[in-house]
Subunit: 421 residues, 2 copies
């Protein structure tokens, strides 16, 4: 396989002046700091093993899992800002995990939920914190490029065949990722009640899978917007290969430049990249794009309370991203008198989706390491594991929200239309 | 039938100094004012017939329906404040409607939606307007008494056999009101996933129908709160008669005094009487009442935008009432980290429910007239007709909102549990 190493800047180089003594003996101060660290996290049931083998546990718990710190500097950084430094030190191999990364993160998150220092209070301007680029036209382009343009071949290793990089829908827990992604697209099409010949606009189309599904199975015409050049190139090629090019126009442009009027408006896994400062403008765009009896669907990661994502996640993985609360989302709808018809929370489906992705990612980790490096493998393992944990403990939600104009009485009386005939 | 006339103060006496000349000739000024009035409403397709038979129509419309004004004072009052005076003048018989009251109101509402003067902008403190009593403990008692304590025999004339005075659920458009109310209770029980032996608390239980259904069909124990003494007396008697007294405790007290811990929290048609000032306190109450893996359901009239109800409605029908936006409702959930699992909008079901109520009400209007007087019959006809129109044109919504704590993973993966087995 001819792959070139890519520079993704996942892990910075550290000035380890606070302690490069990887094998220095653990002293009284180190032990005190280790206990302090566990206590600060809310005393999760974890064993902390220091660089010389000294093990510290929170309280009396006989811990099934644990964290191994390779040097003193890591301990110091963790104590100072765990949410920032855990990610970088794990990626750099200065932290190892015993007993599984997901269970470890879950137990830490659950402990943190009970800890005053980390208790998630609603913060009105939460999304501004740690966000250098707030999704202006240029900022969005940079942010999207950072994550989505690192190589289609990389994503092909661990996404499903249709390249859907959003929460799937599992009608039964055991269905495959492929089937669950198809079920998600089918669910969206049913919610939007698509009819042959209708015009659909998609804001943020990823690799174009949903547009292809809608065109193929519902006979609609789709205009699909995306600012990731790699994704657009891939989507266009597949539409040509599959004979759908006449029905789908993939447009490499910002959602703010959407024009025309449509029977359905859909945005899947895209609102996370918009930012609450732009919701009212986004709502205005939907308002001018949707015909009188049109339906719209927003599928987005959300939160119960307004709180920023971790600084590590924002710096290394998804710059500019923010999962809104339902209250914040209402800025999209309230000024334009849209009626919310249906909200479904698919949180546990996203935990399951990320589990599938992580398993596939691990299957291909040697290829990923060849493409990038070990730090990249570790950073993405942590990212996917952290997402599983976030959805499992309920810090993150997945909302599918269906809406219409207030006077639209062509809405179904019951939800029977969602069930396959 | 031994009924006594009851004083409900539905219509005030007017000082008609602005024009008692019921049969005075219509002059140029009258015609100008009539046109002005229709124009102010957004020119609905209605014929306005004045007291001497002069007919005025908005624009060129050949109107199917119309409004007859019996005297000049009515026209003057309508021009001054249509939202307040239409109700009182209609109730007093100074306005008659041709072509049906519901279609007339609907056409006016649709025209008003397009009219700058009446365009519903979101108003943060909307619920404070025209509200003399803002649902303090004493205010609530007064407000609830005004509407719900005017006689169980009156409500029995036109509600279903279980005396449910909230939106029904029509699995098919043609099912009876009785069946639709049962289907609504079944839907709520399924959403709450009730199990035998569980403890349920109901805030605002009306005549106790839902508590009886839950106890009878799901084997749960219910504590049901209400401050309407007439409703509580009725509910207790029926529970005794039906052998359910051991499972249900009907408590004549304010929701703010709910104590204990419960597997399920339910409030149906009750949040409308709480007022946004009290939502955070209400959320705190739910937080302290619900066990860790408990589920809660709020069923409430809502709005797309924050706007006050009409002053006539607030003064004559439901003092202290306010239908929240979803954004406003989030004050119940966000501070306590509740996760919204499901929102269903049953707006068209409420239009249909009110149609059933209005039909039954009209069937029994002579009995109602004997109990009260003609003005009462007309006021309640207008209230029920106005509700049908509000839900039809989409000015009002009906939200059923299901929620849980964030870490509750005993939530169903799909909505299949809502469909009958």
């Amino acid at each position: 396989m001819e792959v070139q190493k890519r520079n993704t800047c996942v892990v910075p180089s550290f000035d380890l002046t606070t302690g490069t003594q990887g094998n220095a003996r653990v002293n009284v101060l180190d032990r005190w700091m280790a206990r302090k660290f566990l206590h600060a996290l809310g005393s999760p049931p974890l064993r902390l093993t220091l660089w010389d083998g000294t093990a510290i546990a929170a309280g009396t718990s006989s811990s099934p899992g644990g964290m191994i710190l390779r040097d003193r500097g890591t301990l110091w950084r963790l104590l100072k800002n765990p949410l920032l430094h855990f990610g970088d030190d794990y990626s750099a191999g200065r932290i190892e995990i015993e007993g599984g990364l997901v269970p470890c993160i879950e137990s830490v998150y659950r402990a943190m939920q009970q800890t005053p220092r980390f208790q998630r209070r609603s913060q009105p301007r939460a999304y501004r914190r740690h966000q250098p680029r707030l999704n202006s036209l240029n900022g969005s382009r940079h942010n999207i490029h950072h994550h989505y343009d690192i190589g289609n071949d990389f994503y092909q290793l661990w996404l499903d065949a249709e390249m859907l990089y959003t929460c799937a829908y599992f009608p039964e827990p055991a269905v495959s990722l492929e089937d669950a992604q198809r079920a998600k697209m089918e669910l969206i099409c049913r919610k939007l009640r698509l009819q042959p010949g209708q015009r659909v606009v998609e804001a943020g189309c990823g690799w174009g899978g949903l547009a292809r599904y809608m065109a193929r199975h519902y006979g609609v015409k789709v205009q699909a917007y995306n600012i990731s050049s790699e994704q657009i190139a891939y989507a266009r090629q597949r539409a040509r290969d599959e004979g759908l090019a006449g029905q789908i126009e993939y447009i490499e442009d910002d959602y703010r430049n959407i024009s025309g009027r449509y029977d359905a408006f859909v945005a899947v896994g895209m609102l996370e990249h918009v930012g609450p400062d732009h919701y009212q403008q986004f709502g205005q765009l939907i308002d001018r794009s949707l015909v009188r009896d049109g339906l719209g669907l927003i599928h987005t990661i959300g939160q119960n309370r307004a709180a920023p994502l971790s600084p590590w996640f924002l710096q290394r993985i998804f710059p500019g991203s923010y999962p809104p609360t339902l209250r914040e989302m209402m800025a999209l709808f309230e000024p334009y008198d849209f009626s919310i018809l249906d909200v479904e929370n698919l949180r546990l489906h996203y935990a399951k989706t990320c589990e599938h992705w992580l398993n596939r990612f691990e299957t291909h980790r040697e290829q990923v390491r060849e493409m990038f490096d070990d730090a990249f493998v570790r950073a993405w393992r942590l990212y996917l594991s952290g997402c599983i944990a976030n959805f499992q403990v309920g810090d993150l939600q997945l909302y599918q929200l269906l809406f219409a104009r207030p006077g639209n009485n062509h809405i179904p009386l019951t939800r029977r239309y969602l069930v396959a005939p």
